[in-house]
């Protein structure tokens, strides 16, 4: 009985994340258009795109690995779905989740990047392989600062490795963002999240104008639609993750709903502004940025957190 109810909750979260992702992605395109002094597409444009793609023909490249090619988008979607499931489990249910679910969440966060890389290699396209190799490199670079930021969270909350405990700790005392180390860790996590989302300045795996969409290049029809849904859901889920880790989570009673939405909106706006005010960087610049200054600041944040600042 418990299994059935959990499964129902999972599909409910998938549904919510899908529509949240559609709205987030539409809002992003609208904001980008306004920042470029354009009118922009309607808010539900991502939804039209996805419905259209599901009706198109699915082409599989000759000589590529058919099974991996078709399974990769589904793998990514399942990964994002499970990340959203654990997050909402901690947000909506008191004492939800289990001890150590933050590590499970970190593992599932790798799924989208891995699925994109697999897709690139399976499509047997030189540009796709190039995009896949860049995705793997970017994953390696971005992961180190992100793990340091998560380490700061765990140290500051006195060893809480359960998402609901992290929320509970922050609602008892102040949110982590207010403290010095928490503030630094928040910005580090934000940049790493931008890389995991695959957004400008770190959009070098797909790089529309350079390698024509990289791993997505050979995709058409339903698999491409699944990839787009994955990206939209990731865009909706990442601000929630950052709010949960650093800004005291979200509450759903009375006026707090407004504050929860406001928190989500602020993190989302930072993503969109970062995207619209930066050029794409090269892979060696990405390495220098993530393993240089960002990892350095991450180490400082960890030391500060150990000192209790």
């Amino acid at each position: 009985m418990k299994f059935v109810s959990e499964l129902g909750f999972f599909f409910l979260i998938l549904f919510v994340s899908f529509w949240g992702g559609v709205l987030a992605s539409g809002l992003d395109r609208k904001l980008t258009a306004r920042l470029q002094w354009r009118k922009g597409p309607p808010l539900l444009q991502p939804f039209y795109d996805v419905v259209k793609l599901f009706q198109k023909e699915t082409l599989v490249p000759k000589g590529g690995s058919v099974w991996i090619f078709l399974a990769a988008p589904v793998l990514g979607l399942i990964g994002v779905g499970l990340v959203a499931f654990y997050l909402w489990n901690a947000l909506l249910r008191m004492r939800g989740g289990f001890s150590g679910d933050i590590f499970v969440l970190l593992y599932f966060l790798l799924f989208p990047s891995l699925s994109v890389a697999l897709a690139g290699f399976a499509s047997k396209n030189p540009l796709g392989s190039l995009g896949g190799s860049r995705e793997i490199k970017l994953l390696l670079f971005g992961e180190l600062p992100f793990l340091l930021a998560v380490a700061v969270v765990i140290i500051k909350t006195e060893g809480a490795i359960r998402l609901s405990e992290i929320i509970a700790y922050q609602s008892h005392s102040k949110p982590l963002l207010v403290s010095g180390s928490g503030f630094l860790a928040f910005w580090i996590a934000l940049f790493s999240a931008q890389a995991k989302l695959g957004w400008v300045p770190f959009d070098l795996p797909e790089a529309e104008t350079e390698i024509m969409g990289g791993p997505y290049l050979e995709y058409s029809g339903s698999p491409l639609a699944v990839f787009r849904i994955m990206r939209m859901m990731l865009l909706f889920t990442f601000p929630i993750l950052l709010v949960l880790l650093f800004w005291g989570g979200m509450r759903w009673q009375g006026v707090s709903i407004l504050f929860s939405l406001l928190k989500w909106m602020v993190v989302f706006l930072i993503f969109v502004l970062l995207r619209n005010t930066n050029p794409r960087i090269r892979i060696d610049q990405a390495m220098k940025w993530f393993w240089g200054p960002l990892a350095g600041i991450g180490c400082i944040a960890v030391i500060l957190a150990l000192r209790g600042i």
Binding site: P41, Q55, E208, L224
Partner: protein, 141 residues
């Protein structure tokens, strides 16, 4: 008209294919994406791969060397798809009518749905052509 079919009219992705064009039509196509004309209002975006495309924008007078490549790109496009011929060259070769390198017109090789005349056509004309394509798709379904 079902909701599924209706989405085609609201999100046409465009792949731009130059077949020996003098580059003027291509510049005018890019003008459609600028803030002044902003064709993304209708959900149209320029994509980098024919696999993602719904519409093939063909410019140029279809030189001999380009014919097999154009056929291949059309076959790579995921169906259903449509073809829009942009510029006088792709209608009837324009000023290159006497040219020995272009024996066939675009319409003899691809099933063209909409023609946009002009040398080069204005962005307004291209937007009008796309609007005509949308109404044609609406009638088809």
């Amino acid at each position: 008209m079902t909701i599924g079919k209706k989405t085609f009219t609201r999100s046409l992705w465009v792949y731009h294919l130059g077949t020996g064009s003098c580059n003027n039509c291509d510049i005018e196509i890019l003008d459609c994406l600028t803030p002044r004309f902003d064709i993304e209002r209708f959900g149209m975006v320029l994509v980098g791969s024919p696999r993602h495309a719904d519409v093939l924008l063909v410019t140029g007078n279809m030189t001999l060397k380009n014919i097999p490549r154009v056929k291949r790109v059309y076959e790579q496009m995921a169906k259903p798809g449509w073809v829009v011929a942009i510029g006088t060259c792709s209608l009837d070769h324009g000023i290159f009518r006497e040219s020995y390198v272009a024996p066939q017109k675009v319409c003899e090789i691809l099933p063209v749905d909409v023609y946009v005349p002009g040398c080069p056509p204005k962005p307004e004309a291209i937007i009008l052509g796309m609007a005509q394509l949308i109404s044609k798709i609406q009638k088809q379904s």
